[in-house]
């Protein structure tokens, strides 16, 4: 690493990227604490400046780094700043892994992050917790950057938990509302369940490698070392991968741990955009891509990932169809799209997964921000049934939203088309057909429900005139981000135009050295461009029809839509209530756990058995014995004396005789 920036070695400069948002977080945190509870006015310009500047600077640095360090393709690992944990042969240093994957992720995070910061300055401008908000938002960027740049699993885990913590705070940002606070808690705890798997996976890796007596180098859990010793992990690859996937399930909201994400919409909308759409929730996908060399060792795990992914995609899409809360729809949509990504990485097409991750970041962020703009304009209203006809009132929002809907619906030539197409094609080629069918269905459903939301919100007649009259377009700071993201949603996919469409498949080529799985590429080659084109066309047609149906139903024939819901109430209710999963969890896990803890463990075992029976039982026995023996104490001194004397006499007799 001879290259320097301002005289500092590049391997050190890297650390600046997460550090900048961290400094911003520290600064804003101090401001927030000093101006606590509105006792002093928050210096908003200053906060805004610091809060926005830091991600932007980080973005700039990342861009610089991107162009600087894209070669060699496999990247490099920086020497550790310091050894974070080092005991015997377990070593985990603060070192970053810089390669194309992490740089792309870094770009997405800092780029989208910066935009959302800018958007937030408008969205949150009237909130009392302005500084606090940016503290956590900056902190989140810091944690997320640590996550993606981490050079080893423990450090990644730091980011992993760090984003979870920030998510906890941001979901519960308006903590005065107990439900919102609960949502944050739920997110954190569900994530913890996932982390449990992550931890165990780390332990298992370490145990396996340590027992083989290998030299740790930068540590057994460092990605470089792992890759080097992947052969030694062959036997335990399946459990490791499955356990890691449990972590990913939690973080990326996959079945069965997806339940927190819809609730997470309780947070401010930009937060949903950044954390629960663009970045954090994709960490699971990133992690699997990062550990591709492990996953490819275990076909079972891969298949499991793909199955879960596509099932989640379909499942969430079904729920999304009937949701009435604009953000909930988007949330389920996110879950569904994440499922797609997992489907991609599960079948071995890591770059497709990352590709979709990127495009999804653009359009889903745009969608969320758009919905935020709507909510902002409608003073907090989130129910789509109360909206309608907002196009005239909020043109920019409507246009950007519309473009993003087209993108997510997979319309040509928007970003979503290319990424989704790639996934379905790769899934068709590399994975089982059943999964492809499910994915295919989901693609249609996606188009359907997104169009439905768009139609309900922006098209048709206003259903609540009061709301409609007071609606207004959002300020420039917000629309700016919308516009940028909308453009990205349109053009973002063009970096990966497949060869079948006479593109040069830039994205895939670029990642090819990182994921050197020749057999995958051969299979894809083998399938041929014809298949790919056919599939694309069929999918596009299917999606288009679904979108059209939704458009017609929800912008013009609303009655039919409502009647449909009334006609099959059971199905509708089932979907509306999200398959009752939350309720099932509540009855099967949460309530029994609470009951067992309270009644069985605490009140019975602890208080009755241990404390009353054993502890106080002992005491009671003693006092009973005491009371019994105290009968001997007649108070007649001479009785004692006589007994004593007789005893003494016997003793003397024993010695004398």
């Amino acid at each position: 690493m001879q290259n320097l920036l301002l005289g500092i070695p590049i391997s050190t400069v890297v650390f600046l990227i997460p550090l900048l948002p961290f400094l911003g977080a520290c600064f804003n945190g101090l401001v927030a604490l000093m101006c606590r509870s509105g006792k002093a006015p928050v210096p908003k310009p200053l906060v805004t400046l610091v809060a926005v500047m830091m991600p932007v600077l980080a973005f700039a640095l990342t861009v610089w780094l991107f162009f600087f360090a894209k070669d060699p393709a496999t990247g490099f690992t920086t020497p550790p700043l310091w050894n974070w944990i080092a005991v015997d042969d377990f070593i985990a240093g603060i070192s970053f892994k810089i390669d194309r994957l992490s740089l792309v992720m870094g770009l997405i995070i800092t780029g989208v992050g910066s935009l959302i910061h800018i958007y937030s300055t408008g969205y949150m401008s009237h909130d009392a917790g302005y500084a606090r908000y940016f503290t956590f938002l900056n902190l989140f960027l810091f944690a997320m950057l640590i996550l993606v740049f981490a050079g080893n699993l423990p450090l990644m885990f730091v980011g992993w938990e760090g984003v979870g913590m920030c998510s906890y705070f941001l979901i519960g940002f308006w903590f005065e509302d107990p439900q919102k606070a609960s949502a944050g808690k739920k997110a954190f705890i569900v994530n913890r369940v996932g982390d449990f798997g992550f931890l165990l996976a780390m332990f298992l890796i370490y145990k396996t490698l340590s027992q083989k007596g290998l030299t740790p180098g930068l540590g057994f859990l460092s990605f470089d070392t792992l890759e080097r010793f992947r052969g030694d992990l062959f036997l335990v690859a399946t459990p490791i991968c499955l356990l890691l996937f449990v972590g990913a399930m939690g973080k990326s909201a996959q079945i069965p741990l997806y339940v927190w994400l819809p609730d997470a919409m309780a947070g401010p909308t930009p937060v949903s955009a950044l954390i629960h759409a663009a970045t954090m929730v994709t960490a699971g996908v990133y992690m699997i891509a990062r550990l591709h060399f492990l996953y490819t060792l275990s076909p079972v795990a891969m298949e499991f990932v793909a199955t879960i992914g596509v099932s989640t995609a379909l499942f969430a899409a079904l729920i999304a169809v009937v949701q009435s809360d604009i953000k909930k729809v988007l949330a389920y949509s996110t879950v569904s799209q994440l499922g797609f990504m997992f489907y991609a990485v599960g079948v071995g097409s890591f770059s497709a997964g990352i590709f979709h991750l990127m495009t999804h970041a653009f359009f889903k962020a745009c969608l969320f921000l758009g919905s935020g703009s709507v909510i902002h304009g409608l003073h907090g209203e989130q129910n789509v049934w109360k909206m309608g006809g907002l196009k005239s009132k909020m043109p920019i929002t409507a246009w950007t939203f519309g473009l993003s809907v087209l993108a997510i619906a997979g319309m040509f030539p928007f970003a979503g088309f290319f990424s989704k197409d790639a996934i379905l094609f790769h899934g068709y080629v590399l994975g089982p057909r059943v999964l492809w069918v499910m994915g295919f269905l989901t693609a249609g459903l996606t188009a359907f429900y997104m169009t439905r939301v768009f139609a309900l919100t922006f098209l048709g007649q206003p259903r609540d005139h009061h709301l409609h009259d007071h609606a207004h377009e959002s300020p420039f700071s917000m629309t700016f981000a919308l516009i940028v993201l909308a453009i990205l949603a349109v053009v973002g996919g063009w970096v990966g135009v497949p060869e079948s469409l006479h593109g040069n498949d830039l994205f895939f080529r670029w990642f090819a050295p990182l994921f050197p799985y020749q057999e995958f590429y051969e299979k894809i080659e083998h399938a041929g461009r014809g298949t790919e084109l056919t599939l694309s066309f069929v999918t596009l047609l299917w999606a288009f029809h679904c979108a059209l149906l939704a458009f017609v139903l929800y912008s013009q024939k609303l009655n039919i839509a409502k009647n449909l819901a009334l006609k099959c109430p059971r199905v509708h209710q089932l979907l509306e209530n999200k398959f009752y999963v939350d309720e099932i969890y509540q009855t099967l896990i949460v309530n029994p756990l609470g009951w067992v803890s309270d009644k069985v463990l605490w009140k019975f075992t602890d208080q009755k058995v241990i404390d009353s029976l054993f502890v106080e039982g002992t005491a009671q026995t003693m006092s009973l014995a005491g009371r019994t023996l105290s009968l001997l104490q007649s108070g007649a001194v001479q009785m004692y004396a006589i007994l004593f004397a007789i005893g003494g006499l016997l003793l003397i007799a024993y010695f004398v005789l």
């Binding site: 005991v87 377990f90 903590f175 107990p178 705890i189």
Partner: protein, 492 residues
């Protein structure tokens, strides 16, 4: 002087703080408190010196040997290694903070209160520094007395019950230990010095019995399930400072004793008993977290999480792997810091509202933001979020333990989830939501004194969380020595 007698100085220098208690009249209470606080910084200084000067050779450093009962080969023998050094430093840190924290919360008989803490410090330091079982036992019992009075006099409503329970529980164990010590004395060539006992090769059956006696005493102190029921009562009833010391130091004496005496002196028995201890530790972890979850009382909740945390520590020591033991050793320190800090915070809020019931609170984050922030930081330390100290400890423990016992570790790791549930649920109920109670609306945020109490602990939380090497390096060789002892045993 300081080099050669550092430990003696550390043990007895707290007594200097008794002077102001004697010299100042009641009318000058503020001056007296200030003087006590200032003098209590002397042990802290010595503690820091100990930390800095401790080389980490793996053997005992700063040894002092003075004949005591000459005819009986009982010595005043002191020394520290990597197991005891961090705890001594922690002790020297917590006591000044406790004194500072009791500035306004103790109204009656402040003199006695402070004096008891000073005696407590002497006892605790002695326990950690003793290398002669007799001396150890003396200090072990000696620290019981001040704690008994602290709970019994300055405690809550059921203080008498709690203090008696505390003492009796502990006594049951320690008397068994005394018997074992006496046996050792005669079995071991009439010496109770640690080094002499190390070379002792007792028959296995004897080891079983002695180990059981020692382990029971320490298990009660830790406390391991099912000997834990004294802890919630003691914690709930103890005054703030008492809870802090109880959680921060006294519980560590159990794990410390376990590793220093029970494991080291009877290694073969230890190896055979470790599965049992592990099971108990794992039960403790899960059980403690679950029961903590449903507690209506903040202190009780924290107490039960302590049970879980100490379960981790025991699990780590039982792993007999480098990471496990080093992590457990670090976690002892961590738990002292974070649970101590939690008790401080609970004490601060108790001082304002005089209730510990979770249901009495709600929405405190908007009334006391700084308090909420500190509380959350400490909570995250307690539930082992990375970059806090708690994570490093628990991570290493689980890592090491996984090496020897994957199944137990997996179950224990689920305790991490449950612990988070318990703590976060409590945080949610206390800090979030709207301010429902009228009484909570006018609460004042932390004052500078209270912030001063918390700052060192918060700093330590992050310093240890980010650079645990500072401590791990010092303890490394000790851990290695400990682990190798068992490895050698396995190889036999």
């Amino acid at each position: 002087m300081i080099e050669t007698h550092l430990l003696t100085l550390l043990i007895f220098s707290p007594l200097l703080a008794l002077l102001p208690l004697i010299l100042f009249p009641s009318s000058q209470e503020r001056t007296m408190k200030g003087a006590v606080l200032a003098l209590s910084l002397i042990p802290l200084g010595l503690g820091v010196t100990l930390f800095v000067r401790y080389y980490g050779t793996g053997g005992f450093e700063f040894q002092e040997i003075i004949p005591w009962f000459q005819g009986y080969q009982i010595y005043y023998r002191l020394g520290v290694d990597g197991f005891s050094m961090p705890l001594m430093v922690l002790t020297s840190l917590l006591v000044p903070l406790v004194i500072l924290s009791s500035w306004t919360s103790v109204h009656q008989q402040l003199r006695g209160y402070l004096a008891l803490f000073i005696f407590l410090e002497v006892g605790m330091m002695g326990v950690f520094a003793s290398l002669d079982l007799f001396l150890f036992y003396v200090f072990w019992e000696a620290q019981l007395i001040p704690m008994y009075f602290l709970i019994g006099k300055w405690g809550g409503e059921r203080r008498i019950y709690a203090s008696i329970k505390f003492v009796l529980y502990t006594m049951v164990g320690s008397l068994l230990m005394l018997a074992a010590i006496m046996y050792l004395y005669y079995a071991g060539g009439k010496s109770l010095s640690f080094e002499d006992l190390l070379s002792l090769n007792l028959p296995l059956n004897t080891q079983y019995v002695l180990f059981s006696a020692f382990a029971l005493a320490f298990a009660i102190k830790v406390p391991l399930f099912p000997f834990h029921t004294w802890l919630p009562d003691a914690h709930v009833e103890a005054p703030t400072g008492g809870s802090v010391i109880l959680a921060g130091i006294l519980l560590k004496m159990g794990t410390y004793g376990l590793v220093r005496f029970a494991f080291t002196l009877f290694p073969r028995a230890a190896v055979d008993f470790i599965p049992l201890l592990q099971i108990l530790a794992v039960i403790g972890i899960v059980y403690g977290s679950l029961v903590a979850m449903v507690q209506p009382d903040i202190k009780k909740l924290v107490a039960y999480t302590s049970v879980a945390h100490l379960g981790f520590v025991v699990l780590g020591f039982c792993s007999l792997t480098h990471q496990g033991v080093a992590g457990a050793n670090l976690q002892s320190l961590n738990h002292g810091i974070s649970t101590g800090a939690l008790f401080f915070l609970v004490g601060m809020i108790y001082e304002r509202r005089h209730t510990r019931l979770i249901s009495e609170y709600g929405g405190l984050a908007s009334v006391m933001p700084l308090f909420a922030v500190l509380f959350l930081i400490v909570t995250f330390s307690s539930i082992a979020l990375p970059t806090t100290n708690g994570f490093v400890g628990e991570f290493l423990i689980l890592l090491g333990s996984y090496k020897s016992q994957p199944l137990f570790t997996a179950i224990a790791a689920s305790g991490v989830i449950l612990g988070a549930v318990a703590m976060l649920w409590m945080v949610k109920r206390v800090f979030f939501g709207a301010v429902t109670s009228e009484k909570n609306k006018a609460l004042l945020d932390l004052n500078p004194r209270e912030i001063t109490v918390m700052v060192p602990l918060i700093i330590l939380i992050f310093v240890i969380g980010l650079a645990p090497g500072l401590i791990l390096k010092k303890t490394e060789l000790t851990v290695t020595k400990f682990v190798q002892r068992f490895q050698a045993l396995e190889n036999q």
